[in-house]
């Protein structure tokens, strides 16, 4: 296939070449509310298929934090015909399991009461459970064993794998839940069948074992990593009003309390067609795919009421916030500023700024690592989420240097952005890299799919084609103005990490 160049104006800036590239998306709307995006590419006999639901942790509320992500796991558990040998019995067992779980929840309420009064030290310890809870657990196990006799393990996955599909996975963020897979080009209809069936009639079997899996995921990513727990609390103190302040994986006491009934309710509200965009990239014909999508996904009824949007706006931050942590990690500084959400007009200057700071010719490397020699590692990132955004910079403190020296050096680099116009050549360097990235991102189907999933999930897939031009229009004056408006003292939250005593090398002096 060939890509057509857009934005001829760039030619003047970039001698010899300089046309960024569009992803040629065909957009369709289904009568029941689904949006469909298609990109035909015939480089390999495969199709990368995915869909994104506009549902993330920011749509949750306290008490059920983590449900959007748990839900992502449940979407692989099958349908009435996939995953069980006896659906009526399966439904019966699931209902019986819920009755036992309700009784267990009543016991958990008693245990929480004991915990509040200080009679139980640790609710996660198996020994602290009430006798009644332990009895009920045995009853529940019996029902699990019964269900296992009629279960067809991971059949959803097996059917795809046996058809030559690969890379099946999903992810959840604060703003979206994305599902994706890669299928042989001749099996596109299988994708239609599998994805429309799990949206039409999902069955949330093995709910409680999967809840345990999610808790292991929390232990793996957050609780047993050197900085995971701290990063979670740092994030929680950064956002005041906005639901971005709880973790996507959920608070530890919420995950084990999420019920299947809550999951059912969640599904019917947030997984309706109007809240989902279907995306196909690869070796197919647009007309054929559209016909099949209408046939398969057209069966799914439009929901009863539209899902509510997140209406909470972050309140302006009035004072600098700081966290001083002792962790099993090298000493480092991490700083966040409130900035702007996806597609905000200032976001492009912030993207430029991020690139001015990063890389082998970036200002942080030159200024802090090579120049002042106060840091060994530095980072910068503009994170434009759907409803709000943040800019992050940070550095690891070099031996013999102080947190203060590093923090001040970081501010000095930001002050230069506020006070001095970026030299034209340096700005052009950054723009050249954005323009080249517009080509590099087109190397194969899967990355194209993921760009569409993420941008659509953030609010509008068109950004994949429009951002590159907007970045090219950023001026040195824009950078100065935007730096001055966001990088202020009262707008920042700072974490200083020191190495926890006794966790260093032999030669390290005790802190």
């Amino acid at each position: 296939m060939t890509y057509r160049p857009f934005f001829a104006g760039l030619l003047a800036l970039l001698p010899g070449w300089g046309t960024a590239q569009q992803i040629p998306v065909v957009e369709k709307q289904l009568p029941n509310g689904f949006k469909l995006l298609m990109v035909e590419r015939h480089n390999e006999p495969r199709v990368a298929g995915g869909w994104v639901a506009h549902i993330g942790s920011s749509n949750e509320r306290p008490g059920i934090t983590g449900i959007a992500h748990l839900f992502e796991h449940m979407m692989f558990k099958g349908t009435p015909t996939l995953g069980t040998k006896d659906y009526p019995k399966d439904v019966e067992i699931i209902a019986a399991q819920e009755r036992v779980r309700d009784l267990m929840r009543a016991e958990e309420s008693i245990m929480r009461d004991q915990w509040r009064r200080g009679e139980l030290a640790d609710l996660t310890k198996i020994e602290t459970r009430t006798d009644r809870w332990k009895e009920l657990e045995k009853e529940f196990k019996k029902l699990i064993d019964q269900q296992r006799e009629i279960l067809v393990k991971n059949e959803f996955d097996r059917i795809y794998t046996t058809a030559g599909a690969s890379d099946m996975n999903a992810f959840t963020t604060e703003d979206m839940t994305g599902y994706f897979i890669n299928v042989p080009a001749n099996k596109l209809e299988l994708w239609m069948w599998m994805e429309s069936e799990r949206l039409l009639r999902p069955v949330f079997r093995e709910f409680y074992a999967e809840r345990d899996v999610v808790f292991e995921e929390r232990r793996m990513r957050t609780e047993s990593t050197p900085l995971g727990k701290f990063a979670e609390q740092f994030n929680a103190m950064f956002w005041d009003a906005h639901p971005y302040n709880w973790p996507v994986i959920g608070w530890p006491s919420d995950i084990p309390e999420i019920s299947k009934a809550q999951a059912d309710e969640f599904y019917s509200l947030y997984y309706q067609p109007a809240n989902i965009t279907l995306i196909l990239v690869g070796d197919f014909k647009v007309a054929d795919a559209e016909r099949q999508v209408n046939e398969y996904f057209g069966r799914i009824p439009r929901g009863n009421r539209p899902p509510p949007e997140v209406t909470t706006l972050e309140v302006p931050q009035l004072a600098e916030k700081r966290m001083n942590a002792d962790a099993e990690a090298n000493p480092q500084i991490d700083i966040l500023w409130r900035t702007v959400p996806f597609r905000h007009k200032d976001g492009y200057a912030l993207n430029v700024m991020e690139q001015l700071l990063l890389g082998r010719t970036g200002r942080l490397y030159k200024g802090l690592e090579l120049g002042r020699q106060v840091a060994n590692t530095t980072w910068a990132n503009q994170d434009s989420k759907k409803w709000a955004g943040a800019f992050n910079i940070g550095a690891e403190v070099k031996d013999g240097k102080t947190h203060e020296e590093v923090e001040n050096a970081l501010y000095e680099e930001l002050d230069r952005l506020k006070n001095e116009a970026v030299p034209e050549e340096e700005l052009q360097k950054v723009k050249n890299n954005f323009a080249a990235a517009a080509f590099r991102r087109l190397s194969s189907d899967f990355p194209i799919l993921m760009q569409l999933v993420v941008n659509e999930g953030l609010g509008d897939w068109r950004e994949v084609n429009e951002a590159f031009a907007k970045v090219q229009q950023v001026t040195a004056a824009d950078v100065k103005r935007v730096a001055a408006s966001y990088f202020t003292r009262e707008n920042r939250t700072v974490a200083r990490y020191s190495r926890k005593a006794g966790t260093g090398a032999k030669a390290d002096p005790a802190p």
Binding site: Y3, T81, P226, D283, N330, G359, T361, N376, A437
Partner: protein, 505 residues
């Protein structure tokens, strides 16, 4: 018709077949098996069509690709961590890191970095265990300038002193984190158990070795190993085949020094005795690696091992270990096994997962049970079918882009696979299709001996050994040998920490 056109016409033909699938819509069936699909054939590209023997000695795989205005050049160098002299551990990695970011004789590191960045060109280098790599990805309009820079880097790297000093400090700062993350401890101790501390891959850099490396040693290292006889090239992108070959010839012509022939990779591995090995670490999830002696990838059993391992624990959600440890019991987020055939020496079989401290023993017993079962009874036909298809029907993905084709073929050239079996990929699917259930059971019996397992656990020792009241499993009884408490290593010397030394905890 040039070679590029021949290949692309294969792809075009396939998409032509797909156009025939517009049939009238039948009612949607209740099960996906009832769907029928149009045919799909895929033939892998033939390496001989792209192989070019350059005058200076190396082989290049050259694949024009006019879709995007980009060129990819990858130079693989026959060198690796195994050539590090004693006391200079980390030297190869040092050279790999600084090579493309330390300037050239003609340009300071700053001048080179700025020019590359302005051109939006990516020039990177690294040296790993068994190969080194220098890559250049740039816009085709800048090809001449990029190749001139690449020639300068390959023949006259500067290894600029301030970059060297920074990397030295970064390396030592990195070492200090060696005991922070249980994943890092697991990866490292697993290597020690699998291959032994006499083996080169377990010779980690230390503060002393990094401090002792001088710029002269980097220069000597470069002049010894970086010469065309040690190179293999993969080149793809927006160019004319004849033109790029001429450019590659001049890139490598008149090399200013001769260099040495790289010695063979030492293969003196020694796996630890069976047993339970615990590193005490205060994290609420224990990480487990179960090890057994492995094979090389040219072992006649290897294709059957691939299928066997896929069914056991390699196939993700269709594998037995994942089904039981994760889906049935909710004991882990990830659980599985790998049985990589080593290229140069046998790589160990490995089953891994992470579970909360109290259920580590129970989950370990399930994994061992599955390792035993797969040798005791034949796998099902359905499992065979799923495993075969997961290899055979995803085959085209290896050749999805021209850069991948070039990379795959250059890798085969480098590792000697092309010389030994030039039709390796052409016949690969039929070798997988030929594996039977008997083969799977036979290789499981031959290679999986759970009673000989080396079980490495990183986590809260006491909680892990205590186990779970609902599951009567004693971790200590799961293996043939005794319990070994493995001390953490001092991160800067890699010597096991001595408990008697009060300065060390």
């Amino acid at each position: 018709m040039n070679l590029f056109q021949q290949f692309s016409s294969v792809v075009f033909l396939l998409s032509g077949l797909l156009a025939c699938q517009s049939t009238l819509a039948a009612p949607i069936p209740d099960r996906p098996e009832k769907l029928s699909y149009p045919g799909l054939t895929f033939e892998p590209p033939n390496p001989a069509d792209y192989r070019v023997l350059l005058k200076a000695g190396p082989v290049a795989y050259v694949l024009p690709d006019r879709e995007l205005p980009l060129v990819n050049i990858s130079v693989t160098v026959r060198v690796g961590n195994y050539v590090d002299p004693a006391g200079r551990e980390g030297l190869a990695g040092f050279v790999g890191h600084l090579f493309a970011r330390g300037g050239t004789e003609a340009k300071t590191a700053e001048q080179m970095d700025e020019r590359l960045a302005f051109l939006a060109a990516n020039l990177n280098s690294s040296i790993g265990d068994s190969s080194g790599n220098v890559t250049l990805n740039l816009l085709s309009k800048d090809l001449s300038e990029g190749l001139a820079l690449l020639r300068d880097v390959l023949t006259k790297p500067r290894f600029q002193e301030n970059r060297l000093a920074l990397y030295r400090e970064q390396s030592i700062a990195g070492m200090k984190q060696r005991n922070d993350d249980s994943t890092a401890i697991e990866g490292r101790e697993r290597e020690f158990l699998a291959y032994g501390d006499q083996f080169w891959a377990c010779h980690y850099d230390t503060e002393a070795s990094i401090q002792s490396i001088t710029r002269d040693e980097l220069i000597a290292f470069h002049r010894k190993w970086f010469h065309p006889a040690n190179f293999t090239l993969a080149v793809s992108g927006d160019f004319d085949r004849t033109d790029i070959i001429a450019r590659l010839e001049s890139l490598l012509a008149d090399w200013p020094f001769t260099g040495d022939k790289t010695p063979p990779i030492p293969t003196n591995t020694r796996i630890a005795p069976p047993g339970l090995y615990i590193v005490d670490k205060d994290v609420n999830q224990g990480r487990v690696s179960i090890l057994l002696p492995g094979v090389k990838r040219d072992d006649p059993d290897y294709p059957a091992i691939l299928i066997m391992n896929d069914i056991l624990g390699g196939g993700g959600f269709t594998s037995r270990i994942m089904n039981r440890v994760r889906s049935d019991e909710g004991l882990a987020y990830g659980a599985g096994s790998s049985f990589r055939g080593g290229i140069y020496y046998p790589e160990t079989f490995m089953a891994t997962f992470a579970s909360k401290s109290r259920t580590v023993a129970y989950a370990t017993s399930i994994v061992l049970e599955e390792m035993k079962k797969i040798g005791e009874n034949p796998v099902s036909n359905e499992e065979m079918q799923t495993a075969r298809k997961s290899f055979v029907d995803t085959f085209s993905q290896r050749f999805a882009t021209k850069a991948q084709v070039a990379g795959t073929f250059a890798d085969d050239e480098f590792t000697g696979r092309f010389a030994n079996s030039p039709n390796f990929w052409k016949t690969w699917r039929s070798r997988i299709e030929a594996i039977t259930r008997d083969d799977v059971q036979r290789v499981a019996r031959k290679h999986l001996h759970p009673d000989q397992a080396r079980i490495l656990v990183i986590g809260q020792k006491e909680e892990i050994l205590q186990g779970h009241p609902n599951h009567a499993v004693n971790l200590k009884e799961l293996t043939a040998n005794r319990l070994n408490i493995v001390p953490l290593r001092d991160p800067l010397t890699m010597k096991p920490k001595d408990k008697r030394d009060p300065a060390v905890q």
